[in-house]
């Protein structure tokens, strides 16, 4: 099982001829991901690491039957790339690009939902179904196959916690980076629903940070979940009104603070780790209890 992507997923890479697209295509292929085509307008007919490149997504889908897309297109063109993938009938779209204008993100969100597609990101590290498929920019060697699902708004922090789990001998099912922007395609709650239904996943780790109310909303869903959730929230020390790098990491007027998120999660029985290591230890303890 696993969620979003698995060994059967066939994907295209939009922006495959750029330096980022090229570099990560090579890594994803090495992991065993089935990358069947690339798309760069104007570069159709060429090849990148043996992968055929097309001018249009429609053409790539018609030729290869791909069902997923990963996007490395620069921010000014990324909204356009997502919309093109949606219209070409792709149902799983992962957008790595950082810095997309928020007015674009709002329109794209509506378009994706209208067509029942899934958009992960933008501004995310992608998705890793350990041992099956990797559509993203994660470092594969730190993961180990197992039954813990991870969903996170932050890249490096995800790697840190996954690495801690692996060191403790606890493997992962699917690791999903939902992205750090204020408007993202898929919420914590939507991913938690998928993990709740996934046969492989037994425990879920949720990694959140200040800003917005997505963690608070997720707490409402967790209340009715069968599977246990362990959480980590970054940004206890971030001062209000200051932007901490991620467009998402900002607290305004007391809303979206780390305290509010931790409180909401604890109220529904979620164990919240104080440090990334503690999160892994809590999961390990849960597993040894069975």
């Amino acid at each position: 099982m696993a969620i979003i992507i698995d060994e059967k997923t066939t994907a295209i890479v939009q922006g495959i001829t750029g330096s980022q697209g090229r570099f990560h295509t090579q890594r994803m292929l090495a992991y065993g991901t089935r990358i069947v085509a690339g798309v760069t307008p104007g570069k159709g007919g060429s090849e990148v690491f043996g992968v055929p490149v097309f001018d249009r997504v429609k053409e790539a889908v018609d030729e290869t039957g791909a069902d997923a897309s990963i996007i490395f297109v620069p921010a000014p063109f990324a909204g356009d790339a997502i919309a093109e993938a949606v219209d070409a009938g792709i149902k799983t779209i992962i957008c790595i690009t950082e810095g997309i204008p928020v007015h674009d993100e709002l329109k794209i969100y509506r378009k994706v939902k209208e067509r029942d597609a899934i958009l992960i990101g933008p501004n995310c590290p992608g998705v890793m179904s350990v041992g099956k498929s990797h559509l993203g920019i994660m470092p594969p060697h730190i993961f180990m196959e197992g039954d813990v699902g991870i969903v996170s708004r932050s890249g490096t922090l995800t790697y840190q916690i996954a690495h801690n789990l692996t060191k403790l001998g606890v493997g992962q099912s699917t690791v999903v980076g939902i992205g750090g922007d204020r408007i993202i395609g898929t919420s914590f709650t939507e991913i938690l629903k998928m993990f709740e239904e996934d046969e492989q996943t037994e425990i879920v780790v949720l990694i959140g940070e200040i800003g917005g109310t997505d963690e608070e909303d997720a707490a409402k869903f967790i209340e009715g979940m069968e599977k246990p959730v362990v959480a980590y929230i970054a940004g206890i020390t971030a001062p209000p009104g200051k932007r901490m790098g991620h467009a998402g990491a900002i607290i305004e007027g007391g809303k979206g603070s780390a305290e509010s998120k931790i409180k909401a999660l604890r109220e529904v029985g979620v164990e919240v780790g104080k440090t990334p290591m503690e999160v892994a230890e809590i999961v390990k303890r849960m597993k040894s209890r069975g």
Partner: protein
């Protein structure tokens, strides 16, 4: 990017929203001249990019030119929440009979914009929301469908603002929405929106925050960015393409990734220390970025120790080590640095550091985990 009141008002006025007569003053002579032009009875408003100017003494009434000059003498150079006043907007005084609130803002939860109207204005909208939730009316705007008249009728009805003002308010709200779309703003707000003795509706303040990610589509707006407002170190960091926010502690923080940087700050706090900054060198950081990051942090005189926490995924630990060594070599950094280096090319990175420590007098302490690193850094800061 937040604009100053005087910049936002200029734009609002171009969209037909009424504002009081006024001009920007950069010195006492300007204030005197403008106050004379406006007949002496004026409001002096410090132009700083923080909220709560009024409460901090940054907005004052003057009833004569002489009084305006006296107030300006104190206002120029005063500091409001760390922002130094070097510009004053001088406006005519109005006889206000009622203050309201109108704003449009990004609505993350509903993936659209929120139109918010209140019959009570003049203070923080958050405060109104807590004290008088019944006085806040809002609707969500679908960004594709746009703002329609019935939605405006709905909020005006819910806000219980007298019907005689609805026609004018509708025009103002439509203008604000047009500004939001045209400028790709995250926030357009008038607080307070005042009714004067003649029944005219006038924007007493104006807020316009523009999405920095969209600035490439609005090159003309780049000139509106006020760099005098940004901390000197923050400005330098921005030039170097680093995500840096200055804080008031004494432990310098460098990490890769925003979440990781915040988690590092939190760990320092848990161990009883205080972070001096937030600094994210980004994913796949080059040795150059790492070098710049160390130099930026060393500029902060409050910093007693640096904690550098790197988890190499795309970032390569040997690159990080190279940048670190270059910074210490070139800038003769005397502050101790606690280094946690894990992930891709970890062994190569650690080897480089070990050799460097042997041949120099750099104080670099290598630790295994981020938890241990935070503890060590706090210890050294005491």
């Amino acid at each position: 990017m937040r604009l100053h009141e005087f910049q936002a008002k200029q734009i609002f006025s171009q969209y037909g929203i009424k504002i009081a007569r006024g001009k920007l003053a950069r010195n006492i002579e300007d204030v005197k001249k403008i106050a004379e032009e406006l007949g002496g009875k004026v409001v002096l408003k410090s132009q700083v990019l923080v909220g709560g100017r009024g409460k901090a003494g940054g907005i004052k009434l003057a009833n004569s030119v002489e009084e305006a000059v006296e107030i300006a003498k104190n206002m120029f150079g005063m500091t409001i929440k760390g922002h130094r006043v070097d510009k004053i907007y001088v406006e005519e005084q109005l006889n206000i009979i009622k203050e309201m609130y109108v704003g449009l803002t990004l609505d993350r939860a509903n993936k659209g914009f929120a139109l918010i109207v209140s019959s009570v204005g003049g203070m923080d909208i958050e405060e109104i929301a807590i004290k008088h939730p019944e006085k806040i009316a809002s609707v969500t705007i679908n960004p594709i469908f746009g703002l329609w008249d019935y939605q405006i009728r709905e909020v005006l009805y819910l806000s219980k603002i007298p019907r005689e003002y609805h026609k004018e308010l509708t025009k103002i709200i439509k203008s604000l929405y047009k500004i939001l779309v045209d400028y790709e703003a995250e926030l357009t707000e008038i607080n307070p929106l005042a009714i004067d003795e003649n029944g005219e509706i006038i924007a007493v303040d104006a807020r316009l925050n523009i999405d920095e990610n969209a600035l490439y589509r609005h090159p003309e707006l780049k000139d509106l960015k006020d760099y005098t407002e940004v901390d000197e170190i923050e400005r330098l960091a921005e030039e170097k393409g680093l995500n840096y926010v200055k804080l008031d502690g004494d432990i310098g923080v460098i990490a890769n990734g925003a979440g990781m940087s915040m988690a590092t700050m939190d760990l320092i706090y848990l161990e009883g220390g205080k972070p001096a900054n937030f600094l994210d060198v980004g994913g796949g950081a080059s040795s150059e970025a790492v070098k710049n990051a160390i130099n930026i942090i060393a500029m902060d005189k409050n910093v007693k120790v640096i904690f550098m926490n790197i988890f190499g995924g795309i970032t390569r630990c040997d690159e990080v080590a190279k940048g670190l060594i270059e910074a210490f070599d070139e800038s003769k950094i005397s502050i101790p640095l606690v280094l946690r280096l894990a992930g891709t090319n970890e062994d190569e990175g650690k080897e480089l550091i070990e050799e460097f420590v042997k041949r120099s007098d750099a104080k670099i302490i290598v630790v295994e985990t981020m938890e241990e690193g935070a503890k060590k850094a706090v210890e050294l800061s005491k």
